[in-house]
C-alpha cells in the first residue's frame, strides 16, 4: 500500500470526519445534524473509490460508511481504509435488510453499525459511543 497519507491533526484540536454515502440527502443530513463539537467534517464521498482517494490525501479519524455504493462498495472501502490507517473509527450506516452484509463490513474492520433510517439523536449517540469505545480501549 503506497500510502503517503500524513495524519496531521487539525489545528483546532478536533477529530476529522469523512462522510461516505451515495445519497447526497443522507450526506447532507449527517452534515447538518452533526451535533458533536469534537468532530469536523473534512470530506464527503459518494462512492468507495472517491472515499479511498480522499482518505489517502488526508486520512480522517472517524468515517461514516454506507454499504451499497457504486464503483466500490462499503465493505471493500472499509477494508482499504483500515489498511491505510488501522486506528480509524468506522461507523457503518445502512438499512437493516441484510444483517450478514453488515457483519461482513464489521469483519473487515468497521467498529459499529447504525440502522437507516436514523434520527439526529440516534446519529449523535452512535458517534459518541464510537468515540467513547475508542477511549476505553486505550
Amino acid at each position: 500500500m503506497a500510502a503517503t497519507a500524513k495524519a496531521e491533526p487539525l489545528t483546532n484540536g478536533k477529530l476529522k470526519l469523512m462522510i461516505c454515502d451515495d445519497s447526497n440527502i443522507i450526506r447532507r443530513k449527517i452534515e447538518r445534524e452533526l451535533q458533536i463539537e469534537r468532530l469536523q467534517v473534512i470530506a464527503t464521498a459518494s462512492n468507495g473509490k472517491q472515499a479511498v482517494d480522499a482518505f489517502r490525501k488526508e486520512p480522517a479519524d472517524v468515517v461514516t460508511m454506507d454499504i451499497t455504493m457504486p464503483e466500490m462498495d462499503g465493505i471493500e472501502c472499509v477494508e482499504n481504509l483500515v489498511k491505510i490507517k488501522p486506528d480509524v473509527l468506522i461507523l457503518v450506516i445502512s438499512a437493516l435488510s441484510d444483517k450478514a452484509t453488515a457483519i461482513e463490513a464489521l469483519k473487515k474492520g468497521a467498529n459499529g453499525f447504525l440502522c437507516k433510517p436514523f434520527t439526529d439523536r440516534q446519529l449523535t449517540e452512535a458517534l459518541e459511543e464510537l468515540l467513547r469505545g475508542a477511549g476505553n480501549d486505550d
Binding site: L96, L106, K107, N111, G112, L114, E129
Partner: protein, 754 residues
C-alpha cells in the same frame, strides 16, 4: 507489588515469625542458665576439695610435731604443711573476694551465689578463724634451718630412726630454734584442734549453698523447658485455632455466595451461560436453559452445536460471524446490538410425536472482562414466542381491519350500478367455475381444458375487481390464479389435484357475499338519506334501524338496468381502471370512450373482459412515463381511445394508445427467454409474426408478476374470447408512436353465447 505484598498469607507469615522469635528467646535463656549450672557444678567440686584442707593442715601440723619430737627430719613435712596451708589460704581468699574459684582446668570462675549475704557472713567468720590460724602458722612456716643441734643432729638421726619413739623423745636434743618451733607447733596444734572442724564445717556449708543454688537452677531450667514447651504448644494452638477459624469463615462466605449464585441460576427465567473463546458453554448456567433448549445436558457442548439442530445453516453462519466479531477488540459492543442475527430468531425443535415445534428465541451477548482482557461472553436467552405471536396476531388483525375499511371505502367510491354489475357477473363466473369443477374428466387433456376454462373465468373476475379497485377481491382471485398456475406447471394431473380449488372458490364466494351484503346496507342507507331529503328532513328511523341491523330492504330491488346504463357503467369502470393503473405506474393517461352504449347484450360481457385487458395492457406496457414522453416530444399525458361501432358485417372494437408501440426486439427476447421460440427462429421472424407472439399462452413482457400486469395470460385470453365469438383480432403498431388493436365481431345473431 513486592515481596512484602503477601496478601491473604500475611497473617500466617507473621504468626510463624513470632513463633520462631519466641522459640529463640526461650533457647537463649536456657543456654544462659545451663552455663550457670556448669559453674555451680565446678564450685561444688572445688568446695568439696577445699573442705578437706583444714583437716589436712591440722594433720600436717601434728605429723610435723610428732616428727620433731622424735627427732626426725622435718623439712619434708614442713613443706607438706606449707602447701596445705597455702592451698586453703589461696582458695579462701578467692572465695572471699567475690566467689572466685579455679576449676580443675585452671580456669577462673566467679560463683555469683557466694556474693549473697548468707555466704558473705559465713566467709567473713571463716576468714577470721583462718586469720587466727594463719598467725599461729606463720612462725612455723617461717622456720628455716635445723631444729636440732648441729653436732647431734647427724648421729642422732639414725639412732632415733632405729629406736622406739618414746625412748627417742626423751633423748631428743633441740637447738634453741627447734625449741621455739616446737613451742609454736604446740600452740598451732592447740588452735588447729579447736578450729579445723569449724573451718571444714563452713566449707561444707558453702558447698551446700552452692549445691542448693545448683538445684534451684536445675529446677528453673526444668521449669523453663516445660514452660517453653507449654507456651510453644499454646501459641501453636492459638495460631492453628485462629487460622482454622478464618478458614472456616472464608469457607462459610464462599459457600453462602455459591448458594446464592445457585439460587439465582435456578430461579431466573432467562437462560444464562458463559461462552469461552472456543465457544464452549460454561459449567455454570441457569436452569431455564434446559427448558428453552429442551435438553438437560450441556456438558462439553459448543454454541454452534447447540444452534445447529434448530436454525438454518445460513443463520448459523451469520450468528457465528457475529459472535466472532464480539471477540475482536475493534468492534464496539453497544454499536452492533442492532445487527445481532439472533435478536429474534425462529427455531425448530423436533417434536417427539412427529413434526417440529416453532419457537422464537432472543439472544443477547455481553462481553465479560476480567483484569482488562476479554474472558467470556455472557449469553442471555429468552423464549419470546408468545410475544412474537401476539405481535403477529395484532398485525394480522390490524391488516384485516384495514382491508375491511379499504373495501368499505372502495365500495363507497364505486358507483353502486357498476358494483352490482360486477357482482352479478362475478356470480355467473364463479358458478361457471363450479360447474366446470364438477364436470367429469379422466384424461390429461380434459384436466388441462378444465384448468384453462376455470382460469379464464377467474382471470375475468380478477380483472374487473382490479378495475373497480376492490383489492380484497382481487387478491383472492389472484391467489386462485396462482393455484391454477401451479396445477398447469405439473407434469401429470389427477382429480384430487382440483380439491384445493374448491376451498379457494368457496373463499371467493363468501367474500363476494360479504361485499354484496355491505353494498346492500349502503344502498339502503343511501335510500334512507334520500327519503329523508325528499320528506323535508324527516328521517325514517325504522329504515335506519333495519339497515344497521343488516336486514334487507323489503321493497323490491330496482328494475333491471338498461343496456345503455351498463355500457356507461363500463365506461366508468375503464376510466377508473386507467386512472388507477396509471397512478400506480406513475403515468398520466387520458381515456376516451366512444360507442360503448351500442354494445349488444350478447357481447356485453366479452367486450367488458376484452377492453379491461387491453386498457390495462396499454397503460402498463404502451404509455411511457411522463419523462420519457417529454424526451420523445410527446405530451406528458398519454391518450387512450376505446371505440365500439356497428359495421355493415358486424361490430368493430378499437383500442388504441399513443405510447411506445410494440417493441419487436424485446418481444423476441422475451419469447426466447420464455422458451416459446429458439433464438434461431427469432432471427427469422418478420414484424407480423413477432407481434403475433404476444397472443401466445405464457407470454408476458412485464418483468414482475403483479396484479396489474398479470403474467401474459391477458392477450391469450383476448385471443380466446374473440375466437369463441367467431371474431378476429388485428394489430397495428409503429415503434415509438402507437399501438392499435382492432377486433371484429360478427353480427350478434351469429355470435356464440359467452
Amino acid at each position: 507489588m513486592g515481596i512484602l505484598d503477601l496478601g491473604r498469607y500475611k497473617g500466617i507469615v507473621f504468626a510463624m515469625a513470632g513463633f520462631l522469635v519466641f522459640i529463640a528467646v526461650i533457647l537463649a535463656f536456657n543456654h544462659g542458665i545451663a552455663g550457670q549450672f556448669a559453674d555451680n557444678v565446678a564450685g561444688v567440686k572445688f568446695l568439696a576439695q577445699q573442705q578437706t584442707q583444714p583437716a589436712a593442715v591440722y594433720a600436717a601440723s601434728r605429723e610435723l610435731t610428732a616428727r620433731l619430737k622424735s627427732g626426725q627430719q622435718i623439712d619434708e613435712q614442713l613443706e607438706v604443711l606449707r602447701k596445705a596451708a597455702h592451698s586453703f589460704d589461696h582458695g579462701l581468699s578467692g572465695l572471699t573476694s567475690g566467689g572466685m574459684i579455679s576449676d580443675s582446668s585452671g580456669e577462673v570462675i566467679a560463683l555469683s551465689v557466694l556474693r549473697g549475704s548468707q555466704s558473705e557472713a559465713l566467709l567473713g567468720s571463716t576468714a577470721k578463724l583462718w586469720d587466727g590460724y594463719k598467725q599461729k602458722l606463720t612462725p612455723v612456716l617461717n622456720f628455716a634451718g635445723s631444729p636440732y643441734p648441729a653436732e647431734s643432729a647427724e648421729p642422732a638421726a639414725p639412732a632415733a630412726a632405729n629406736k622406739a619413739p618414746a625412748a627417742v623423745a626423751t633423748g631428743v636434743q633441740y637447738s634453741p630454734r627447734g625449741r621455739r618451733l616446737l613451742a609454736s607447733l604446740e600452740e598451732l596444734n592447740e588452735y588447729g584442734a579447736a578450729s579445723h572442724a569449724p573451718l571444714q564445717k563452713s566449707m561444707t556449708e558453702l558447698a551446700a549453698i552452692v549445691e542448693a543454688d545448683s538445684a534451684k537452677n536445675a529446677a528453673v531450667l526444668k521449669g523453663l523447658q516445660v514452660g517453653g514447651i507449654i507456651a510453644a504448644l499454646l501459641l501453636l494452638g492459638a495460631i492453628f485455632f485462629y487460622f482454622a477459624r478464618n478458614l472456616r469463615k472464608e469457607e462459610l462466605v464462599a459457600s453462602r455466595a455459591r448458594k446464592e449464585t445457585e439460587d439465582i441460576l435456578r430461579t431466573v427465567n432467562e437462560g444464562l451461560f458463559l461462552l469461552d473463546k472456543d465457544l464452549k458453554i460454561g459449567t455454570e448456567r441457569s436452569m431455564a436453559l434446559n427448558q428453552i433448549f429442551r435438553r438437560d445436558d450441556f456438558t462439553g457442548f459448543t454454541f454452534d452445536q447447540l444452534l445447529k439442530a434448530i436454525v438454518p445453516e445460513k443463520t448459523l453462519r451469520t450468528a457465528m460471524d457475529y459472535v466472532a466479531l464480539l471477540w475482536g477488540e475493534r468492534v464496539n459492543e453497544k454499536l452492533v446490538k442492532t445487527i445481532n442475527p439472533l435478536n429474534e430468531v425462529e427455531v425448530h425443535f423436533d417434536n417427539p410425536s412427529g413434526g417440529f415445534d416453532t419457537h422464537f428465541l432472543e439472544f443477547d451477548f455481553n462481553r465479560v472482562k476480567s483484569e482488562g482482557t476479554l474472558s467470556h461472553l455472557l449469553v442471555t436467552v429468552n423464549d419470546v414466542t408468545k410475544r412474537v405471536m401476539l405481535s403477529r396476531e395484532l398485525q394480522e388483525s390490524q391488516e384485516k381491519a384495514q382491508a375491511q375499511l379499504d373495501l368499505l371505502l372502495r365500495i363507497l367510491h364505486v358507483e353502486p350500478d357498476s358494483l352490482t354489475g360486477f357482482l352479478t357477473d362475478a356470480d355467473v363466473s364463479l358458478k361457471m367455475v363450479n360447474s366446470i369443477l364438477k364436470e367429469p374428466a379422466r384424461e390429461e387433456s380434459a384436466f388441462r381444458a378444465k384448468i384453462d376454462g376455470i382460469y379464464r373465468q377467474v382471470h375475468a373476475v380478477k380483472g374487473e375487481a382490479a378495475a373497480l379497485g376492490l383489492k380484497t377481491v382481487e387478491q383472492r382471485a389472484h391467489a386462485f390464479e396462482e393455484s391454477l398456475n401451479d396445477l398447469k406447471g405439473r407434469q401429470t394431473l389427477s382429480g384430487s389435484d382440483f380439491l384445493p380449488l374448491v376451498v379457494k372458490l368457496d373463499d371467493l364466494f363468501n367474500h363476494l357475499a360479504q361485499v354484496r351484503e355491505m353494498l346492500g346496507r349502503l344502498v339502503d342507507l343511501h335510500q334512507a338519506i334520500a327519503t329523508k331529503r325528499t320528506a323535508g328532513g324527516h328521517m325514517d328511523a325504522e329504515k335506519v334501524d333495519q339497515w344497521l341491523g343488516g336486514k334487507q330492504d323489503p321493497t323490491p330491488a330496482a328494475a333491471p338496468q338498461a343496456s345503455e346504463e351498463v355500457s356507461t357503467g363500463l365506461e366508468r369502470t375503464l376510466e377508473d381502471l386507467a386512472a388507477r393503473v396509471a397512478s400506480s405506474q406513475a403515468k398520466q393517461v387520458a381515456l376516451r370512450c366512444k360507442g360503448l352504449e351500442v354494445v349488444p347484450e350478447t357481447y356485453r360481457r366479452a367486450v367488458k373482459d376484452i377492453t379491461i385487458q387491453l386498457v390495462r395492457n396499454a397503460v402498463v406496457h404502451g404509455i411511457e412515463d411522463p419523462n420519457e414522453r417529454a424526451e420523445a416530444h410527446k405530451t406528458q399525458t398519454g391518450t387512450l381511445a376505446v371505440e365500439f361501432a356497428r359495421r355493415a358485417d358486424g361490430y368493430e372494437l378499437i383500442v388504441q394508445d399513443d405510447g411506445r408501440g410494440l417493441q419487436l426486439d424485446r418481444i423476441k427476447e422475451v419469447a426466447v427467454e420464455r422458451g416459446l421460440i429458439t433464438p434461431a427462429q427469432a432471427a427469422m421472424l418478420d414484424p407480423r409474426q413477432t407481434m403475433a407472439l404476444i397472443f401466445r399462452p405464457g407470454f408476458s413482457t412485464a418483468d414482475r408478476v403483479t396484479t396489474d400486469a398479470g403474467r401474459g395470460a391477458g392477450m391469450d385470453l383476448v385471443r380466446i374470447l374473440v375466437a369463441e365469438l367467431g371474431g378476429r383480432v388485428g394489430l397495428a403498431s409503429a415503434g415509438g408512436k402507437f399501438s392499435k388493436f382492432k377486433i371484429w365481431l360478427p353480427a350478434a345473431e351469429r355470435a356464440v353465447a359467452a
